[in-house]
Symmetry: C2
Subunit: 331 residues, 2 copies
């Protein structure tokens, strides 16, 4: 892992590199949502990205920068699911082998999706084993490159292309970005988007959104140093269950992120219901976190517009069914 901090120039370079590979995801609006919030809500539908989440961007940006020899030796990653699928797809495109270390209790759609993409999946126990150690061991044994889920300059720069696309969209529509809500796990998406957005709109507020119980970034920002939360609480947001921010992501977010908002499971479920009914989008709990914060009134939106990143949509049919049947009255 490198300690080099990524820059907004790295995000631009990543965008050029990724152009032919990833989807320039649409920015959607809902007349109902705009009316309800009294502003334009720009929904960056990254759930429509290949593999169903933004993770393919960072993974592909890293893999494209490996040498031919490195690619030939394969890649290793650990992930609860979205990064797993991102790395698996990137490896498939580039014709290299991928081994992914995944928790035994990861959503079945994510496990299956990763295997379907041709990756070898190694399972571990989320509560007893150290996935990083397992991944490092495999990488060392095979001479394979490790592709971190968030704490790497190339990965952060790749995720930042989501922010760059938002900036470009805003400019095309004569809007300036004042508030950007972003789901926050390890902080890679937040860091990348912060770099891209604040270099163009210096006054923009980047608001990370964490699930209650996994507010490691919030606590770390408050303490001004990286803190770890205990893995005790549960959350619907399997993709945001990080216990400690990354060294690199935190160094960036500390400088550029304005604030962290918290959402609980009920708020997340309501956002998923809203997306199902009014946006015709399938969001996974973690992918709906930023929308949840907005719908729950966690911030006073600016009059001009507020941007919300819908970061992923890989969710078990059984869980999704349970949540959307919460009733129409709720949304």
């Amino acid at each position: 892992m490198t300690d080099v901090l990524p820059t907004s120039a790295d995000v631009s370079a990543a965008a050029a590199r990724l152009r032919q590979w990833v989807v320039r995801t649409p920015v959607l609006e809902s007349p109902l949502l705009n009316e309800r919030l009294g502003t334009r809500v720009l929904l960056k539908a990254e759930c429509l990205q290949y593999t169903g989440s933004f993770k393919i961007r960072g993974a592909m940006n890293r893999l494209l920068q490996l040498s031919a020899d490195e690619r030939a030796a394969g890649v290793v990653a650990f992930s609860s699911g979205n990064h797993a699928q991102g790395v698996a797809q990137a490896a498939r495109w580039l014709g290299c082998q991928a081994v992914i270390v995944m928790p035994r209790d990861a959503p079945a759609v994510k496990l299956q999706g990763t295997r379907d993409l041709g990756a070898e999946v190694v399972l571990y126990d989320r509560y007893a084993e150290d996935r990083e150690a397992i991944a490092r061991q495999i990488a060392a044994r095979r001479g394979a490159a490790l592709v971190p889920a968030f704490d790497h300059a190339d990965v952060i720069a790749g995720q930042g292309t989501v922010g760059l696309e938002l900036v470009e969209w805003a400019r095309e529509h004569d809007l300036s970005l004042g508030q950007v809500l972003v789901p926050c796990g390890g902080g890679g998406l937040c860091a990348g988007i912060s770099l891209a957005v604040r270099s163009r709109f210096p006054d923009a507020r980047i608001l990370g959104v964490e699930p209650v119980g996994f507010d490691d970034t919030r606590q770390s920002l408050k303490a001004e140093r990286r803190l770890s939360v205990r893995n005790g609480a549960g959350t619907l947001c399997d993709s945001l269950m990080t216990l400690m921010p990354g060294a690199i992501t935190f160094a960036v977010n500390r400088r550029l992120m304005s604030q962290v908002l918290l959402v609980d499971d009920d708020q997340v479920a309501r956002a998923m219901q809203f997306a199902f009914r009014h946006l015709q989008l399938v969001l996974e709990p973690g992918g709906a976190a930023a929308l949840a914060a907005l719908l729950a009134g966690k911030l006073e939106p600016l009059a001009d517009c507020v941007a919300v990143v819908l970061s992923g949509g890989n969710v078990e049919p059984a869980l999704f069914s349970r949540l959307i049947k919460g009733g129409l009255a709720a949304v």
Copy 2:
């Protein structure tokens, strides 16, 4: 109702009229789907349109051409749900009153969605009453304009803008459209898309897709005259339960549509599962019909590309839940 046949020039005029009102919906691709079909599958995600279906296009194109006096008298429509919401939204934007005649057994999300948009909903019995007569009576009493769900040149031209956007997308990507699969109810979307596509790609095959039991267009094309099917069979596709093609839509489709494919409920459910899991899109049964035909192997796709219209995504949570839980193995 007018008997004037719409032209491709009418579609272009509609596009200019609608530009500031409707979403230019994205064309999505899935690496998995492309690999499986051995061609590029261009998914026109019209479920991401305002009100969750393409119907807003035709409704708005009609309403924008009413005089100020006509608008002041309000509008009347009959619809099982998507056209209802399209007319309600269009009327809301233009500040005119809308009365919508809807079947008592329409999906609750569609009834509620129509009411939420400020329209007055009049219920009727799908199996015993004549909705057209009820609507005409209300229109006559109020001096209000009737907005047909499909059989009107302005409505067809509006729906055709979906096809025009597909043409423009294909040209931007150096592709020519050879096959376009379109869900077929009354035939308005098929007719509009046919006009837009075949004026630019004369050899393109427009393939309508009807649910088993509601193949009125297929039978009519075969007989070379409009035939009615009996309202006996059931189908999941509430938005495609038309018993007879329109006079205008049939006149266009007879000339420009190549063929009609049929899909059953099981095939439709599988397409909805596929969209849920791999596209992160919520499709309603009727909106998934064209994708269902492709996935079920109802046509030999061309090597270059095949375009599929995903026409809507307004579906009951309970039904959606039941269908997506059909199991992962199935998709």
